[in-house]
Symmetry: C2
Subunit: 420 residues, 2 copies
């Protein structure tokens, strides 16, 4: 894409009331726009990152028989009253609104109730189970405070998968599988080494649940990490569980972190209250055994920024970067411009995703913008590089900068970049 056509520009400053590092950087670099506290729009660069993260998650969900669907934001009071969660004291983040035709509606803060209710149309017999519907859907939560940028929004995108199993055994097999898949996902988006599988409270559903916690000072959680086996325990249950659940090591290290994913054993909490049953192989009705598996997509994006950014700006891992290459032309001469254009065309032909900074601004500004935006590889074409029939390639994450022959880029740019 030509940067001259991109409607966003980098900004010197984020809005004054923006106190989080993730939103400050993402606003200044043109990825998001703050509508109000906890409510952010996604601009073209930001939407590209969101789509990359969604596709990584989607691929993993589909590979484990996940079936993508999409529930609604507007919620019917009746079904939540049946489960006992319509009350503002039970769920304290409801947004509610009135229907002109009469009646009160809610904006979904989560989707256990409508999905459990929906599945009653499709689950009849043990032959129908297990099932794993999931969605990427906007959640609305009426948070009292919203000062963490896209880490904790009042409106945010979440992937939520729900498992419907015959019994606890079948549930547990899937739950364990999903916990491995979640590890792979955090690995793929570049947070693997900062993220801990964490034993946490099961809330109102069961004694324990599991979270994936990424260590960052921007987080609101405290975890106790076992550095031997990379597991952790959430502070909320540390009184119950003072040792590593895996290796029994008692020498745990306290860290500040953010929950980037969670997996819950819901048991029959919702199938009981909403009456979701199946007929077992003896024709006897049984409650469906459920689990839920969430990842906040925007939160994950914000966490990547918090954890990997440096003093110059954002540092995207290749897997989620809006573009792989930031091509920058420095100089006014036709020769330089034409060479850069040629490389741009070549990279497009090779299906490399490139943002081409073809703007008429000075080199220093282009370089500063490039560091701020954080695309993994910067390729500079200038009179100096052309004199050597080369381009200068800089790796954003390491700062490593070297010249490479244009001819090599024309043959296989990915191979050239991968060699760094």
């Amino acid at each position: 894409m030509l940067q001259s056509l991109l409607f966003t520009k980098t900004r010197k400053e984020a809005p004054k009331d923006e106190v989080s590092k993730n939103a400050d950087l993402l606003i200044r670099a043109g990825f998001i726009h703050k509508e109000m506290a906890g409510v952010y729009s996604f601009l073209p660069l930001g939407l590209r990152v969101i789509e990359k993260i969604k596709n990584i998650v989607r691929e993993e969900m589909n590979a484990t028989y996940g079936q993508e669907m999409q529930l609604t934001a507007l919620q019917d009071k009746d079904v939540w009253e049946k489960s006992g969660r319509w009350n503002d004291e039970v769920i304290d983040v409801w947004f509610k609104t009135d229907l002109k035709a009469g009646g009160e509606l809610g904006l979904a803060p989560t989707h256990e109730e409508p999905l459990t209710s929906l599945m009653k149309n499709f689950i009849r017999s043990y032959r129908d189970l297990p099932l794993y519907p999931y969605q990427f859907q906007t959640k609305f939560r009426n948070e009292t405070r919203a000062k963490s940028g896209i880490l904790r929004g009042r409106e945010f995108l979440m992937k939520d998968l729900y498992s419907f199993s015959k019994d606890e055994n079948e549930h547990t097999v899937f739950y364990d599988k999903m916990s491995k898949i979640y590890r792979d996902i955090f690995e793929k988006v570049g947070l693997g080494e900062h993220t801990y599988f964490t034993l946490a409270s099961g809330g109102s559903f069961s004694k324990f649940s599991h979270e994936f916690q990424t260590v960052t000072s921007a987080g609101e959680d405290t975890i106790f990490v076992c550095e031997k086996c990379k597991m952790a325990v959430n502070k909320e249950i540390i009184e119950d569980q003072k040792m590593c659940p895996q290796c029994k090591n008692e020498d745990l290290v306290e860290k500040t972190s953010i929950e980037v994913g969670n997996i819950f054993n819901l048991g029959t909490r919702f199938s009981d209250t909403l009456n979701l049953t199946y007929l077992d192989d003896k024709g006897k009705p049984q409650a469906v055994f459920m689990g839920s598996y969430g990842i906040g997509i925007g939160r994950l994006m914000g966490t990547i920024v918090e954890v990997l950014a440096d003093e110059k700006g954002i540092v995207w891992p290749k897997s989620v970067a809006p573009f792989l290459v930031h091509l920058i032309v420095v100089g006014e001469s036709d020769e330089v411009k034409n060479s850069a254009q040629k490389i741009y065309d070549e990279l497009n032909t090779q299906k490399v995703e490139v943002l081409f900074d073809d703007r008429d601004v000075r080199a220093g500004e282009k370089f500063a913008d490039s560091d701020l935006i954080g695309i993994p590889y910067r390729i500079v074409i200038s009179e100096k590089t052309l004199a050597e029939k080369s381009a200068e390639i800089k790796v954003r994450a390491t700062g490593n900068t070297e010249m490479r022959p244009l001819a090599d880029l024309k043959v296989d740019a990915i191979a050239v970049l991968d060699a760094f």
Copy 2:
């Protein structure tokens, strides 16, 4: 995809309160689920259709320098008060809600205000214009009545593009271009011959606007069609405009229709009230000239069902069908099952999208389901077809049924199907 794994099943009946043909068929076939009047979830088959339509629209928007982004549902009262549209008497379909931290919010029924406000951060000079941001975003409209299925929802997905131009001339060039692109889109989704470019009221923005109206008895509009040049006039302005705007023909035919797209000249209605200006080439501030261009994605899906369905069920055009081929195995023998599985694998290898009905149910039920679901080509493998080393291919839209050699399908299935 294996139909045995799909969690939806066809249903004999839609909910009793469902009076629209589109929702009745889509619910019975397992594409959507009714949460409440005017609020529908999209199940796996339905989401596939939505994504197909989005991709057709996205490709066209990107080809004309559209830049995809995503605004929010939650709306800040302040910006709508500035434009004068916060008032329930001005926009009579607002859903409003309260923020716990204090203050009232709205759920976006449309997005002119937040986008105009956002663009103030990026538009400064004439060099920045024109710009064409767009989104696929959920709109919320507190409709008093909602009896048209997914044709008129209280929560629905819309593509809305907004143009920001220097002046009316620049605007008009784009407006005309977009009107041609819209025609292409309706052509591509299979509604071309039923859809008329229609002169309509400009509402509060300008004297006239243009709509794309698809003829169907399910529609709520009345248009007067010129059958010579395929243009129409909306009844709302027929008193002002009693002839075809194109060829001046006065012999217009009255038809019932639904608006599937609209394009508006917004002029400086929003840039004036929200103070969106640019500096012209003389350094003088000028109001940005705006337009808006909407297509309801769910409505389009519902319209396709209304217009093309027959007494047996839905008939999807190839371009938006959830799958291209419905492969059906009839018979219990290993030979039949293995042959069908082989064809399924072959089609997947050829990147043909196939729903494979591998369920253990009788042939009649499979055929009825297949007609209801409406996938363009049905391919049947049975002992009878295998005796001729063939498969039976039926075109859903025409009913045309013929045998074709398995060998041909294995070489190039698309070529075999295209020849029908």
